[in-house]
Amino acid sequence: MRVSEWILAPDLSHAGELQLVEELGPRARRRAMIATAAALALIVGGLAWVVLRFKTKHQFDSQLWAPYKSWGSWRFLIYGLGNTIKAGGVAALLALIIGTTAAVWRSERGTQRPREVIAGLAIFFGLLAAIPAWLNRTVSKEGKATGVSGNWKAVAVIGVVVIAAALLRFLRIRFKKTLSATYVEVFRACALVLLISFGFILFPRVLPHHSLKFYAYVSLVTGLTLYYSTVIAEVVRSGIRSIPSGQTEAALTIGLTEGRAMRFVVLPQALRRALPNIVTQVASLFKDTSLGIFVTYEELTKRAQISGEFGGNNLQSFIVAGAMYFAFIAVLTTIANRLRAQQRR
């Protein structure tokens, strides 16, 4: 029986992994067939129910689908997808650069000391606390300089920087390692939506006199970059750690400096090894461009919603947009899976 052969064929795509059943006997075959029939009935029944819902709620009516029979609505959505790619592409590029740098800095030899953790947090929250102070300066610049004069402020800033640098040196805190570790841990723990909407309140104050569209774009790209650079940093770092230490030792032996050993010997191998996971994360980044809805950025999700409100065909617009998303992201996911399979061989 052909059908039963097809149904009971073992899963060869995972050959060598766990096999839960062996060749079935006649009784087990019959049971398996019944189970399959029941499951299929459930799945098909569910789908049929959905189709019926469409029918009874008149969602198949041609005027609801009519916009997608002409080019206009498609173009509207495709431009939305273009905006998605515009934001996601830039963010992905930046995240790759920053993430790789952070991973390399963090991979400096030796574990992180407690005082380095504390220093990192101090630097980070110091900068964070400096933002409102700095913003107040921008806001009040309309009038004359109030309070301390500009010269004294400059002297104070330089003084603080010098003292901080001396302190870091004195406590033997590795600046790059500390900075990158803090950066990664802090931004990885934050909700992406919060980062994006934080940018949307920050940028109009820092860079005044731009359009709303500009702010939306910049805050979306910044938020995505901050978050995904930390994710990529972790992926690359685990790649670096997977390279045997003999590689570094050999490189040092033939006279490379530590930085060069990392750049020319370890990093190329690590990046190659981390590539599948990097592609997965880039796919995830492109998915998260849909968070642009929080800052009124007109990417695909937002445009699908607008199109749906405008034509009274929410469901249809979202189905079309969903198909576009799926087609786009699935390409990236498939590439990642192919690469992963290639490496396993």
Partner: protein, 224 residues
């Protein structure tokens, strides 16, 4: 600080909604994911296909899109439900796909000898899965599941887009100078304190969740 303490109850309420949302959706997602993972390793090809399609649908669709789809699209077919319910349903469907992948990779770490031994002593498929494979698989997928729980906690902020009063949405409204619970205007519109406060909340809970997950992972890991 004054701004935070004056609106503390509003913020705490919103944070509680965030926690509720993330725990509820993760619990349902865990069930969905477990079922789909079993589908994906089952001996019946139609079930495997169904599982694969489900996972690829969820993994290749943005969560914010799903949220909008659930809020604007699906009500055209069925009854209207509240934003909270929509958010829980869509989040659990979404996270279910990822949980299925995590558990499946856990299942694949169980050595073949375990299943062979189970069959040799006469256990059926469902017995093998329930008593031999799943307990081990579950324990070795604790690491990825912990990461997912953490990611889910951060992702539920998306529910703000469909009007659920979780933390990110609430701090934003507060920052614009409106109390989202009473609708009345505050005397000030200060976005930064509220954003910083919720940032701190995410940091603290995120670190705590990560620490707990790592602890559990180390404790439960199967030595091989």
């Amino acid at each position: 600080m004054k701004y935070i303490s004056e609106n503390f109850s509003t913020l705490a309420r919103a944070a509680w909604i965030t926690i509720q949302l993330s725990l509820l959706s993760f619990a349902v997602g865990l069930v969905i994911g477990m079922v789909v993972a079993i589908f994906r390793v089952s001996p019946l090809r139609p079930l495997r296909k169904f599982g694969a399609i489900y996972v690829s649908l969820m993994v290749n669709t943005p969560v914010a899109f799903l949220m909008f789809f659930g809020f604007y699209g699906i009500p055209k077919l069925g009854p209207l439900v509240s934003g909270f319910v929509t958010a829980v349903v869509m989040m659990s469907l979404y996270v279910g796909g990822y949980v299925a992948e995590a558990i499946r990779s856990g299942i694949n770490t169980v050595p073949n000898g375990q299943a062979e031994a189970a069959r040799a002593i006469g256990l059926t498929f469902s017995q093998t899965v329930r008593h031999v494979v799943m307990p081990q698989a579950f324990r070795s997928s604790f690491g990825p599941l912990g990461v997912l729980l953490n990611a889910n906690f951060r992702n539920v902020a998306v529910a703000g887009a469909i009007g659920v009063g979780e933390l990110v949405k609430t701090q934003r409204v507060l920052g614009e100078g409106i109390n989202p619970m009473t609708g009345e205007n505050l005397a000030y519109a200060k976005p930064f304190p509220f954003a910083m406060a919720s940032f701190a909340f995410y940091l603290v809970v995120g670190f705590a969740l990560a620490a707990i997950a790592t602890r559990l992972d180390h404790k439960l890991a199967v030595k091989r």
